[in-house]
Assembly symmetry: C2
């Protein structure tokens, strides 16, 4: 990513060459809103990589897609909202398999010869219920017919994976060497249901091997989606996929590929944080001066997950003592007397004790940047999070019932 | 603790022989409510033990009391609400020291020869502000004069350490061999301020060495207060002290001492959970069938801390999928397909998938018992927690400002 590259937000998975996409209402959601999305890689290549939830309780589509991805190839991704298909037993896994088989058949009929073993499946919604398979299967046939070229198909797909998201999330980078990366995302908003499942599909028309894609994707997700921590929960369904068509015929360096994938992921992560219905604050927690980056990350995450810090921010309360207490229980090296903290650039704690005027800092704006300096080393990391609001409690206490 | 022993709730630190206590309003709290408490051991012995917060950011009184306790002796404990004296630098530590010195002087004048090195200090309230030392010092002299024999002094003390607690918390065990254990506690309610600081003072008239007291106290706290987890936060000021006067002249076995201290701690812990202003549910999370007790505890704590589980319970929503997802990210051994979950005895998940009728379970009552069976071994542990309510958000977003 250099200054001559171009990051845009109104283009997504169909920004790179060689991809088609669609989004439709298949009747999976009771509301009748769009709930089925498709992304197809028309090649000439179909290398792919993916990262998945670290939850040991994995939804059927995660188990399926992980298995498919061992081959390093993906021809298509089918995604549904309206049901997570998690904790649904062997029957749920058969539903995922049947969905992939049905799509392979429909795509082959449409002229793109495909097997179920090249199709990833993603689901999001309430945990524990089987999907209405009659509607899913009918939808799969319909959506293949809806596939459009151009950008609109990508945007339709981004709409169809939304749950409590209020806006679709897309981003694309056009590299000056004439290759592109695009992506769409849903979830992780404060009020996102069923553990804020995050689904992301990234596409590129670069020429790249599955290993190169995997390397770029892991580096990017570790610095972006892995550092977005709304409530410490980790979904059964989280999935991030990267598909390469090779249609640009350009083979970028690993470094350039890394940078472009990172830029798209970073922008999508910021969109996920921003679209947090009911959330009143966007909070960045930076720990610097840790002995290394890993410890900085652990410390920042501990503060970002602390309910008392998050409720204080909801109240625009510069209660820096809670930040000290939260970092103090993180399993990292620190010396309490060396810790300094600032809120939006205003020192509130210096050398472990309060700074003059700390209780008068104005945090009434929507953005709060907490910087905690441990003064021990060079390690630095930032977590994106939110406040803990009445809206969070309201939406999450009334979702399934 | 046998059936012939007697657990009572309206007696506390003065239930055992050899202790006096008092509680007064010293003007530390702006509200004028009681804010200074004293417990004095009149002997003949003064063995003692203590456990303290594991937070690396420790309040001045914690640093002081830890140092004092290395001697294994305590003559008195002075406790204040209205200010945590945490993150207050060397000046704050000097304030604690001066408080102990002043109390030693006042007690010596009163006829109980004492040095500051035999006096523990506890504080609770907002982090980051210095205490109004003129009021504390004047209060120390006054409270020594207020010391009463009998039970009422203990109850006055239990009142004076309250912050957002709505009721004082006391418990005592009268052993049939004619020795006693008593105790008082504050904090850990859902809405307790400044990290729900938990202060507990336990007394006994048994004859016991500091080592025996330490052993009994650590065993008891690990199974009671350490398993009360309201919001995952850990205060800078948490302190649990056990003082022995030897005034009964009875030397109980370690096993009997352990059992009596455990019984008092367990009862106080249940009172702490119950007095959670704004909390609508009392929640027990049991993990059984883990490979060992330690893993069961880690699993139960992960579920008890999960914001999405806790908001679902606030909404009386039997959203068992969130329980599966929460246990799935705990760093313990588990096999998703073997996990079973029940709510108040009703199966909601069997073998990793939903049980019939799971979504119709009535959780509208105030008590919810979640049992998660991993079916791997014999490990079992229970955490006491609460729901995540609007009240929690409201109180904790508006405390210091």
């Amino acid at each position: 990513m250099t200054s001559s590259d171009n990051l845009v937000r109104n283009q997504g998975v169909t920004a790179p060459l060689g991809f088609r996409a669609a989004g439709i209402a298949a009747g999976i959601k009771a509301t009748g809103k769009p709930d089925l999305a498709l992304v197809v890689n028309e090649g000439p290549e179909c290398a792919a990589a993916g990262v998945f939830t670290r939850n040991k309780v994995k939804a059927a589509p995660v188990l399926w897609s992980q298995q498919v991805l061992t081959g390093g190839r993906l021809r298509a991704v089918i995604l549904n909202s309206g049901g997570a298909n998690a904790c649904t037993g062997p029957g749920g896994f058969q539903d995922t398999h049947a969905t992939a088989e049905e799509l392979a058949k429909a795509l082959s009929n449409w002229g793109t010869e495909t097997g179920a073993g090249e199709i990833a499946v993603c689901s999001t919604g309430l945990i524990g219920d089987r999907l209405p398979m009659d509607k899913v299967i009918a939808g799969v046939t319909e959506i293949v017919h809806e596939m459009a070229g151009g950008l609109s198909g990508g945007t339709d797909a981004a709409h169809a994976i939304m749950t409590t998201d209020t806006v679709p999330k897309e981003a694309a980078v056009h590299h000056h060497d004439k290759w592109n990366v695009g992506g769409m995302a849903k979830g992780a908003g404060m009020l996102a249901p069923s553990l804020a499942t995050m689904l992301v599909v990234l596409t590129t028309d670069a020429v790249a091997t599955p290993e190169q894609l995997d390397s770029a994707l892991r580096k990017a997700t570790s610095r972006t989606f892995d550092r977005l921590d709304v409530d410490g929960s980790c979904s059964t369904n989280d999935t991030v996929l990267l598909l390469a068509s090779g249609a640009s015929a350009v083979t970028p360096s690993q470094q350039d590929l890394d940078a472009a994938v990172l830029a798209v992921c970073d922008d999508l992560a910021s969109q996920l944080m921003a679209d947090a219905e009911g959330v009143t604050k966007r909070v960045l927690v930076t720990v610097r001066g840790a002995v290394d980056e890993e410890q900085a990350l652990i410390g920042a995450r501990a503060v970002a997950r602390d309910s008392l810090v998050k409720t204080a921010f909801f109240g625009s309360d510069p209660n820096w003592g809670r930040v000290l207490a939260a970092i103090g229980i993180a399993p990292i090296e620190l010396e309490p007397d060396r810790i300094s903290v600032s809120f939006n650039g205003n020192p509130v704690c210096v050398g472990g004790t309060g700074a003059p005027g700390a209780r008068e800092i104005d945090l009434s704006g929507a953005d709060i940047h907490v910087v905690i300096d441990l003064e021990l080393g060079e390690g630095e990391a930032t977590i994106r999070t939110t406040d803990l609001s009445h809206g969070y409690v309201e939406e999450n206490s009334a979702y399934s019932s």
